[in-house]
Symmetry: C2
């Protein structure tokens, strides 16, 4: 690779000190406009680019952020990453992506990734995969390493006031979804839950249960099954449920991906959606809008979550004020399509 010009090269050509060159390049006052111009013209001629490592070494910052996701190929995380990257770029930061994958020891994997990215001198990290009692968070707050939780949060009581986060109101999400199904005429519904060690699934489930109680719906623990946000698991769970006695008339899947698994199970035994079985998802991923899918779902403004997360993190990094915490909770909205019945004029009850 061609080797790059340094400040010294410029100094030599301009016959001045490298101090002067540095100051000119950084538009500091205290340089005559004559030398400044000379420096600048030599710099562009040489295609001078400051050495990033050297600058980082001095400034103690890298202007790079990291984002940890389960799987960047998952539409939810991809959309999140798009938001984060865009906002980061706008504010002068680059974005490193890390996938935890679906290893069983996810927390260890996460720990290794965090330690890797910290070793790399990243300025801050956005975590979207933490578990309810994630041990890695405590370390970050102890060390005052800038981070923000997006999507999932920790419920560790002693950390409550020390984490920045931007999440959906998942309790409300579970409640509203269940209520919607109730008003469409369903009295017993199956909840296809995500990973219950994630705040998203845990809270959505709690919201559902609360709504069932409030509305006097039938409740039976066997109709809520943990499927870890994995489509295949949701498919199998749905098959099982559909073949049971008195099976529920509606499924509330805690994300669209699992809803698609449930959908396959329903269609496979020639049941119709929504005439025979209703189906509700969460996320409003693009696929749900397709003709023939038309899944009713609960919106998260995923990209906006990414943007807000990035903004919050950068703010935290640059303010360097450890005593200020941003906790942002976004409101879920139902997008009514056809999978729960379609009554444009209102609800059934």
């Amino acid at each position: 690779m061609k080797k790059r010009a340094t400040i010294k090269d410029i100094a030599q050509i301009a016959k001045i000190s490298s101090t002067a060159v540095s100051m000119a390049l950084n538009h500091r006052p205290g340089v005559s406009s004559r030398t400044r111009e000379k420096v600048l013209s030599i710099a562009t001629e040489l295609g001078y680019q400051p050495n990033y490592a050297a600058k980082s070494l001095i400034s103690r910052q890298s202007n790079t952020l990291a984002l940890i996701v389960h799987n960047i190929a998952d539409p939810f995380y991809a959309e999140l990453a798009l938001g984060v990257e865009g906002e980061a770029a706008r504010l002068g930061y680059s974005l490193l992506i890390y996938n935890t994958g679906t290893s069983p020891r996810i927390e260890e994997r996460e720990r290794d990734l965090i330690s890797n990215l910290r070793a790399r001198g990243v300025d801050g990290v956005i975590l979207s995969t933490v578990s309810l009692d994630d041990p890695n968070i405590e370390l970050l707050v102890e060390d005052r390493f800038p981070f923000v939780l997006v999507n999932r949060l920790s419920l560790d009581p002693k950390l409550q006031t020390k984490m920045d986060f931007v999440v959906l109101d998942n309790l409300s999400c579970g409640y509203k979804g269940t209520e919607h199904l109730y008003r469409m005429g369903h009295d017993t519904i199956a909840v296809i839950a995500g990973a219950l060690n994630a705040s998203t699934a845990s809270l959505r489930t709690r919201g559902s249960v609360q709504a069932m109680k409030d509305l006097g719906m039938n409740r039976d623990p066997k109709w809520v099954v943990e499927c870890h946000y994995i489509r295949e698991e949701a498919y199998r769970a749905a098959k099982r449920i559909l073949s049971a006695q008195n099976c529920p008339s509606a499924f509330f899947a805690q994300d669209d991906n699992m809803a698609l698994g449930v959908r396959e199970a329903i269609l496979e035994i020639d049941l119709r959606i929504p005439q025979d079985i209703s189906l509700l998802g969460v996320d409003n991923t693009p696929v749900t809008a397709l003709t023939g899918i038309e899944l009713t779902t609960i919106t998260q403004h995923i990209r906006q979550m990414g943007i807000t997360g990035a903004k919050t993190l950068i703010n935290k990094i640059e303010m360097n004020n450890p005593h200020m915490v941003n906790q942002i909770i976004m409101e879920p909205e139902i997008v009514i399509r056809k999978s729960c019945g379609f009554y444009p004029k209102g609800y059934v009850r």
Copy 2:
């Protein structure tokens, strides 16, 4: 943020020189096992992490790669990124993601991103969005900056022997797809082309035209329309085509995303797939497998392309042999589902 221990701190505690500490930490020979152990134990006690910027400054490498995509939320690019990130991580590299977006001045945007990432001291870049005569590539080869083209390539003749790439055999993709449609009984087909300034679309189109010629199919320039890989454009083009006289009986969309746009147009006027109109896509994105979609499509092993791209790039970086070029061409395969008719026992003709 808590400040981190340095080599000096360790030296002070161990009462030895920082040279010795450095050598011990790096497992260099020429250090007594006694001091080595002392150093190592102090290091772990202090949670010592070497300063990355300082190391980079000396080693002149950052162990980070960059990937430029149009939009990380597009399933194709997301899958590609997954492959790249995984392989990069396996080989000790981190991955920076850059989105060009869909700005009209894409080449300028790309140029800015490249210059940004080079300034950041990235070790190499994977480009997946280059145009046929992309001016940015020449700069990279001139400067011997490590890069590999994935998905799209340049057709600039004087660069042909100087670029590493991993791409689909797009000519064959266009040819095979068209041939498949012909054998399913179609004599005139519409080609919903991607951006014709991309090698993918250009070559697929050329392949299609060649097949039409070879097979004696009807040809009419008005049935090939450039839709820039944008679903909405494909939708509009399909609407227009479907309302024309003697409209083709099949659509060959050059990616699944556009195929989905065509699908909406077809279904909207109550035509059936494949009974009335056949539809063929490219990419085999997950959505195409869903019941009710079941799109016949041409597979790219996208993740594998990402993996191979990363491997090739890292190889190039570490071998530092500018005279060796890797050009990898992957074979397309048709995945037969239901959108072109479904004849498990063979073709119509």
